[in-house]
Amino acid sequence: MSVLVRTLFFAAYRDRFGVSELSVDLPRGSTVADLVAELRGRGAPFDVLPEEPAVAVNQIYSFLDEPLMKGDEVAFIPPVAGG
């Protein structure tokens, strides 16, 4: 049993990874931290992801211990600079 989540990359992340979106399969019970570890484990260029990046799960800012469900949208949020 696994959980398929949709990850989104913006701005500097997207430029660096060359993709704006990625589907990632995770073991059931995984958290955002597990997703981060999975991505970083892929090596370059994903290993430049911080260990504790800012994320939004389903468009809500979340902590890294947030459990992930099937179909969740996890966005990696580089430091924001609006205004």
């Binding site: 913006f10 992340y13 997207r14 911080p50 890294l64 949020i77 580089p78 600079a81 205004g83």
Partner: protein, 160 residues
């Protein structure tokens, strides 16, 4: 009624003012953020705003609702633009109206500060020398392991 929008079309500042106001209001305040020609001593020729559109719309609306509590009215219109902008283009417009001025200034300022703190928008400056770089921003609160901010190695590696 609170109006919050993220859009790629130009912002009509006067139109924002027209969305607020009521017979009981004694003041209206319009804040406009504009693309300027310099940043940290470097000459800027333009800018690209990227946005996480669906989330930004939600966050902007939430910021406006929070500001509404301070304002004492729901007469707020706020718009943030994304896409390619030129010098002088309006990137953000915030209009509020209320019976008294202290609340108007407070709510307006609250909104622009919160927009900079947590609206999922990023800007890439185009410099006169042809280089473009993402502007170093702010890690939004309520993220990470404990809500503290973290230096992003990405920024240090000069991801442009």
């Amino acid at each position: 009624m609170v109006f919050a929008e993220v859009r790629s079309d130009p912002i009509n500042a006067a139109g924002l003012l027209a969305k607020v106001g009521a017979d009981e209001d004694g003041v209206a305040l319009l804040f406009i953020g504009v693309v300027r020609d310099h940043a940290e001593g470097r000459r800027v020729e333009g800018m690209r705003y990227d946005v996480y559109a669906e989330m930004a719309t939600e966050v902007l609306h939430k910021i406006a609702l929070e500001a509404s509590e301070r304002l004492g009215t729901d007469r707020i219109a706020v718009v943030h633009r994304f896409g390619e902008l030129e010098i002088g283009d309006v990137s953000v417009g915030i209009a509020v109206s209320s019976p008294h001025r202290a609340e108007a200034y407070g709510a307006s300022r609250y909104m622009i500060e919160e927009i900079k703190r947590r609206l999922p928008v990023w800007k890439k400056e185009h410099y006169a020398d042809g280089v473009s770089e993402w502007v170093e921003g702010t890690t939004p609160p309520g993220t990470g392991l404990d809500g503290s901010t973290h230096a992003l190695p990405l920024a240090d590696e000069g991801l442009a």
